[in-house]
């Protein structure tokens, strides 16, 4: 029976001349969130991309339920939701269209569910406007709706509360808390504490 357990062992990553990840190890069980902290350039984004299988570490292993993720990388990646600095939205499509295509390439999504999540993150009033006309915070809310709709076990979040007001930051905390309650996992690079989310495990990356 799979248990949704992520383990990193002795990750070593070089980016050019820079030794970004130096023997990093950690383990995450269902319902746990790892908070990545560190100064700019410490390697938070690189670690998230390494966990996502977008970057290959020079040494070390990443295991999901005890199996190396490279044994079936495509399946592993299918269970990840990665939200980078910029929400993966097309400026010429509306928020709703973006979600239909983004989420739709992974899971069948019905209109009521889409509407429900858009309303949940406060994006329903502007969901039918082209993304290019939305503010950065509004785009982030649309992306958060997509994150929730993906329904995958592992969330990798890079500054998920960027550009959001206090209410939006609270929302991010609540969404992560719900993900953990469902038995999911999250790794989040954050500069500030997220309201509504407590007892996170923290990993401080050195520059």
């Amino acid at each position: 029976m799979p248990a949704n357990r992520l383990e990193a062992e002795n990750l070593q990553l070089w980016r050019g001349e820079r030794h970004v990840l130096r023997g990093l190890s950690f383990a995450l069980a269902p319902g746990e969130c790892l908070k990545l902290t560190g100064v700019n350039g410490a390697g938070k984004t690189s670690l998230l991309r390494t966990i996502a299988g977008l970057i290959y570490p020079e040494e070390g292993a990443l295991r999901w339920d005890g199996q190396d993720i490279r044994r079936d990388l495509r399946s592993f990646q299918g269970g990840i939701a990665y939200l980078g600095h910029e929400p993966p939205l097309k400026a010429d499509l509306t928020g709703r269209e973006n979600l239909r295509y983004w989420v739709g390439t992974r899971r069948r999504v019905r209109e009521p569910q889409l509407q429900q999540q858009l309303a949940r993150v406060g994006a329903a009033p502007f969901a039918d406007r082209p993304v290019r006309s939305l503010s950065a915070g509004q785009r982030r809310r649309v992306a958060l709706a997509g994150l929730a709709l993906l329904g995958v076990p592992l969330w990798l979040l890079d500054e998920p509360a960027t550009n959001l007001d206090a209410q939006g930051q609270q929302l991010v905390g609540e969404l992560i808390a719900e993900q953990l309650t469902r038995g999911g996992l999250a790794v989040a690079a954050v500069h500030h504490d997220l309201p509504g989310l407590s007892a996170l495990r923290q990993l401080e990356l050195a520059a």
């Binding site: 977008l54 399946s75 299918g78 269970g79 390439t105 069948r108």
Partner: protein
């Protein structure tokens, strides 16, 4: 390409029963529809290569000579050079926006076959560039002095050649994804690969105008198209993965 649904194997699902996974074929169909919709919202990008093709093939008769014999001699070269350059013009946009806004990363992380998704994107490119060029080819050929009996052969040649050009271009576009102002490098990478298509395409056009036996050059173009359909999406998908590192 129609791999089974990419339900995350080994994962305990946290999505709930409402979230049925989709297969790679359905995901590729969605990617194709999305690219077509986006293209029609930016018509200027759509028209640019077609206008280029039309202008080049119209200017040739004015610049060289209206004499039919001369025109028919240069027609194959002019037609295929214009088609190749028009196709290259549009290639720069094939992956660029998707790389910048994170869509390509999401494709890689979708758990779907990246090859199928890249094939869908390339098919969209061909539908938006190669197919219109094929439709325009008879008009361009007539303006270059081709007899009407030659038009079916020319259209078939451009149709087959256009497919190969789009697919070869996808490899070049994927390899130059992370390079700023990559259009020059993209051309350098793609042109040598595209030369056999241009040579056989021009030969087919020449034979069609002369009223000769077309089967040979068309079969060669078809063989190249089959080879490109089979291998180019795999190569382009691998190049995208490397570029995203």
């Amino acid at each position: 390409m129609s791999a089974p649904a990419a339900a995350p194997l080994g994962f305990t699902d946290v999505a709930g029963p409402h979230c049925a996974a989709v297969g790679s074929f359905a995901a590729a169909g969605l990617a194709l529809r999305r690219d077509l919709r986006l293209a029609f919202r930016k018509p200027a990008q759509l028209i640019q290569p077609l206008a280029f093709f039309a202008l080049v093939t119209m200017i040739f008769p004015l610049a060289i000579s209206p004499e039919l014999g001369t025109l028919r001699t240069v027609a194959p070269g002019a037609l295929w050079a214009a088609a190749l350059l028009a196709s290259l013009l549009a290639l720069e946009f094939l992956f660029r926006d998707d790389a910048q806004d994170g869509t390509l990363e999401q494709y890689v992380l979708s758990g779907q076959s990246l090859t199928a998704l890249i094939f869908a994107k390339t098919l969209a490119h061909w539908l938006l560039t190669g197919l219109p060029l094929t439709v325009m080819a008879p008009f361009a050929a007539v303006s270059l002095g081709a007899p009407s009996a030659a038009l079916p052969g020319i259209v078939t040649a451009v149709l087959l050649g256009g497919v190969t050009l789009s697919l070869l271009g996808a490899i070049g576009a994927a390899l130059t994804l992370n390079i700023r102002r990559s259009s020059a490098l993209l051309s350098l990478l793609t042109l040598p690969l595209a030369l056999p298509v241009v040579i056989f395409g021009a030969r087919a056009t020449q034979v069609a105008i002369a009223g000769g036996e077309l089967l040979g050059p068309l079969e060669l173009l078809a063989a190249l198209a089959v080879l490109a359909v089979t291998l180019a999406p795999l190569a382009a998908a691998a190049a995208v993965r490397i570029s995203l590192e």
